[in-house]
C-alpha cells in the first residue's frame, strides 16, 4: 500500500496475470489511443471524425499506390532498427538516449562520402565507403560515453543527451563548410544512392531490416553476449561474481550499437532521403527509446510497437493534410497521447487498483 490509510484507493501488484488478459489490456489501450487521435482531430476540425479514419487508412494501406505502403514499411523499418539497436544497452541498464545524435553523425559521414566521392567510382563502391564511414562515426559517438561510463561511472543518460546536441551543431557546421554559399541546403545526392525498386528508393532498406532483425534476435536471445548483457541487467554484482567483465561488455555493446546506428544513418541518407539535413532523423531516435522500453526488450513486441508508431505517424500525417491542419504538430500530439496511453496500460497490467470500503473488509475491484 503506497497511499495513506484514509485514501479510498490502493494499489497492489498483480500476480500471475493471464497472457490473454494482459494482451486484452494492451489492445484495449491501443484502440483507445487511436480513438483519442480521432477525437483530437474532431476537436481541431469539427466534423472530421470519419474522414480522419478513412484518410488514416488511406495514408497507410493504399494498395493502389504501392509507394504509400512502402513509405509505411520504411518508417516502420527505421523505428524497428533504432529500438532493436538500443535494446542490448537498455537491457544492461545503460540508458542510451543519444540515438538521435548517434544516427545523425553516421548520416553526416555517409552524406559526406556520398557527396564528395570521385564520380568515376562505381555506385556500389561509394555505398560501401559511405556505410563504412557512417559506422566508424557512429561507433565513435557511442564509444565516447561508453568509455567514460565503463571506467569512471559517468552518468550516461546525461552524457548521451548532450552528445545529441553536439552532433546536431556539428551537422549544421559541416553543411556550412560544404555549401559555402550560405543557403544551408545540402541538395539531392546524385551518386552513392540506393536503386529505386517498386518506385521507392527505400525498398532495399526494408530487406536489410529483415536481415538485421533476425541477426539481432539471435544476438539478444541466444548469444553469449546477450546472456552477459541480461546478467548485468539483473545484477552487476552477480555478473562480477560470475566473472563477467562489466566494462568490456559495456564497450562491446556500445560498439555494436554504433555499427548499427551507423548503418541506420547510412540507410536514411543514401536510401530513403538521398539528401541530408541536421534534422533528418526527425526525433525517431527518441521515439525508438520509447518503443524499446514499451516492447519489454522483446524483438517481436518491439516490432509490434514500431509498426503501430509507424501507422500513427504515416496515418496522422495523411489525415492531417486531408483535413487541412498542421501535420507535423498533429502527429506529435497523437504520438505523445499514444505513448502515454500505452504507459498507462503498462500500469494496469502490472498492478491492480482496489477501492477501500470503510476501515475493515476491503472490497476488490479491477
Amino acid at each position: 500500500m503506497s497511499q495513506k490509510r484514509s485514501f479510498p484507493l490502493y494499489v497492489t501488484k498483480r500476480i500471475g496475470l493471464a497472457k490473454w488478459k494482459y494482451w486484452l489490456i494492451r489492445v484495449g489501450g491501443i484502440l483507445l489511443a487511436f480513438l483519442i487521435a480521432g477525437i483530437v482531430c474532431t476537436m481541431l476540425k469539427p466534423g472530421s471524425f470519419l474522414t480522419f479514419y478513412s484518410e488514416m487508412f488511406r495514408g497507410c494501406f493504399d494498395f493502389s499506390d504501392i509507394t504509400t505502403v512502402i513509405d509505411l514499411l520504411v518508417t516502420f523499418s527505421i523505428l524497428l532498427l533504432i529500438a532493436l539497436t538500443l535494446t542490448p544497452a537498455f537491457k544492461m541498464k545503460f540508458w542510451n538516449i543519444g540515438a538521435e545524435g548517434q544516427i545523425l553523425i553516421g548520416a553526416l559521414a555517409a552524406a559526406g562520402v556520398a557527396k564528395f566521392a570521385p564520380s568515376e567510382w562505381p555506385n556500389i563502391l561509394i555505398l560501401v565507403f559511405a556505410l563504412f564511414a557512417a559506422q566508424v562515426a557512429s561507433a565513435i559517438w557511442c564509444l565516447i560515453p561508453g568509455l567514460f561510463r565503463a571506467y569512471f561511472h559517468t552518468n550516461e543518460t546525461l552524457f548521451t543527451l548532450m552528445m545529441n546536441y553536439i552532433a546536431a551543431v556539428l551537422a549544421s557546421m559541416m553543411i556550412s563548410v560544404w555549401i559555402p554559399n550560405g543557403s544551408q541546403k545540402f541538395g539531392t545526392l546524385t551518386q552513392g544512392i540506393f536503386p529505386t525498386i517498386l518506385g521507392h528508393s527505400g525498398t532495399l532498406v526494408i530487406i536489410f531490416t529483415l536481415v538485421i532483425f533476425v541477426g539481432m534476435y539471435f544476438y539478444i536471445n541466444h548469444g553469449k553476449s546477450g546472456f552477459e548483457v541480461a546478467v548485468i541487467g539483473e545484477s552487476v554484482d552477480t555478473a562480477r561474481y560470475a566473472g563477467i567483465n562489466v566494462s568490456h561488455v559495456t564497450l562491446r555493446v556500445m560498439t555494436v550499437s554504433g555499427l548499427l546506428f551507423g548503418a541506420i544513418g547510412f540507410f536514411i541518407v543514401c536510401g530513403i532521403h538521398q539528401s541530408f539535413s541536421p534534422t533528418i532523423v526527425a526525433g525517431k531516435g527518441f521515439t525508438g527509446v520509447l518503443i524499446a522500453w514499451l516492447g519489454h526488450f522483446n524483438p517481436f513486441e518491439i516490432a509490434l510497437f514500431a509498426f503501430l508508431s509507424a501507422v500513427m505517424e504515416c496515418g496522422t500525417t495523411t489525415a492531417a493534410t486531408a483535413v487541412n491542419i498542421s501535420a507535423s504538430r498533429f502527429t506529435a500530439i497523437c504520438t505523445g497521447a499514444f505513448f502515454f496511453i500505452i504507459i498507462a496500460c503498462e500500469f494496469f497490467s502490472r498492478y491492480q487498483v482496489h477501492i477501500r470500503v470503510k476501515e475493515k473488509g476491503e472490497v476488490e475491484e479491477a
Partner: protein, 325 residues
C-alpha cells in the same frame, strides 16, 4: 564600452529563460525525478503565457493603454498553471503509475511540444508586440544609473523574479525542514520513508512546483524575447535541454545556476551578437554553439573522475515503491 554593456544586458535577459528552466529542474531532480519532460513543460508554459496575455488583451478595449503590471502578472499565472499541469502529468505517471522516468519525460516532451506548437501558431498575436515592448523594462529611468543601470536595472520583472526564485529555492533546499526532507527523498527514498516522510507527496509537490517554475521560463521567452511571434526555428525545447545541462553544470545548486545560466546565455547570444565579426569564418559560430554542451560533458566527466562523491541526488531517476525490496 557600450558594445560590451549591451552584450551583457542581452545575455542577462537571455539567461532568465535558462534560469527558470534550470531552477525548476533542480527542484525536480532534488526529489529524485530526472524530468526529461522539461522542454515540453517549458513549451506548455510558453503556451500558457501567450494564452494569458491573449485573455488580458481581449479583456480590455482595443485602444486602451496596457497595464504594465497586469501584462506580466496574468501571463505568469497562466504559465504557472500550464507548467504545473505538465509537472502533475509527469508525477502522476512516475509516482502513481510507477512508469520509467526517461520514457515518461520523453513522451511528455513530444506531447508538450506538439500541443504548444499547434496552438501557439493559431493564437491571434495583435498587440503582442506592443505588450512585449512594455514588459521589457521593469524600472523606467534606469538610464540614469549609467552602465550599471543599463546592465542590471534595465531587465524585465521576469529576470528579477527568476533570481528571487532561485535564491529562495536554494535557501529552502538548504536551510529548512521541508528542504531537508526533499533532499532525503532524492538521496534515499526508502530511508526517508522510514523516517516518516511521505515520499509520494514530496515527489508530487516538488515536480509540480518545478514544472511551474520551468513554465515561466518558456512564457518569458515567448512573450518578451520573441513577442508572441512564434517561430519553430527558435525552438524552446533547445532551451529546455540546455536547462538540463545547467543543472549538471551548477552541481544541483540554484545559486550557482544563476551564474551558470548567465555563462550559457553569453555563449548562446555571442554567435548572433558578434555575427558581423564572424562573417569570414562561418564555422566559428558553430564552435561557440557547441561550447555549452561540451562544457557540461566536461563537468560530468570531471565530477565523476575526480570526486568519489557524486553531486547528483543518489536516487536520481530511481523510482520508489514501498513494496519493492
Amino acid at each position: 564600452m557600450s558594445y560590451v554593456v549591451s552584450f551583457l544586458s542581452l545575455a542577462i535577459k537571455f539567461a532568465t529563460v535558462f534560469l527558470f528552466g534550470a531552477t525548476g529542474e533542480i527542484v525536480n531532480q532534488k526529489s529524485g525525478h530526472l524530468n526529461m519532460g522539461t522542454p515540453g513543460i517549458m513549451y506548455l508554459g510558453a503556451l500558457g503565457g501567450i494564452v494569458g496575455e491573449r485573455i488580458y488583451l481581449s479583456s480590455i478595449p482595443a485602444d486602451a493603454p496596457l497595464n504594465p503590471l497586469l501584462i506580466v502578472f496574468i501571463p505568469v499565472v497562466f504559465a504557472i498553471i500550464f507548467g504545473a499541469l505538465g509537472g502533475a502529468i509527469f508525477s502522476f505517471f512516475t509516482v502513481t503509475l510507477r512508469c520509467n522516468q526517461n520514457v515518461t519525460g520523453l513522451t511528455l516532451t513530444t506531447l508538450g511540444v506538439g500541443i504548444a506548437c499547434y496552438f501557439i501558431g493559431s493564437i491571434d498575436t495583435s498587440r503582442m508586440a506592443e505588450a512585449g515592448l512594455l514588459m521589457q523594462h521593469a524600472f523606467s529611468g534606469y538610464e540614469a544609473a549609467g552602465w550599471f543601470g543599463e546592465i542590471f536595472l534595465s531587465q524585465s520583472w521576469f529576470t528579477y523574479l527568476g533570481v528571487v526564485i532561485a535564491i529562495l529555492a536554494a535557501v529552502i533546499l538548504r536551510y529548512t525542514r521541508v528542504g531537508l526532507n526533499l533532499r532525503a527523498v532524492g538521496e534515499n527514498a526508502s530511508a526517508a520513508d522510514q523516517a516518516g516522510v511521505n515520499v509520494s507527496a514530496y515527489r508530487y509537490v516538488a515536480t509540480i512546483i518545478g514544472g511551474a517554475i520551468s513554465g515561466i521560463g518558456g512564457a518569458f521567452y515567448e512573450l518578451d524575447n520573441v513577442k508572441g511571434m512564434f517561430n519553430v526555428a527558435d525552438g524552446i525545447d533547445a532551451f529546455g535541454w540546455l536547462a538540463l545541462c545547467i543543472v549538471i553544470f551548477s552541481l544541483w545548486r540554484p545559486t550557482i545556476a544563476i551564474f551558470a545560466s548567465f555563462f550559457f546565455a553569453c555563449l548562446s547570444v555571442a554567435p548572433t551578437f558578434f555575427a558581423p565579426y564572424l562573417a569570414g569564418a562561418g564555422y566559428v559560430r558553430y564552435l561557440l554553439m557547441m561550447v555549452p554542451y561540451v562544457a557540461t560533458i566536461i563537468v560530468l566527466i570531471v565530477t565523476s573522475v575526480v570526486s568519489k562523491k557524486d553531486h547528483a541526488p543518489a536516487s536520481l531517476g530511481v523510482p520508489y515503491f514501498r513494496e519493492d525490496r
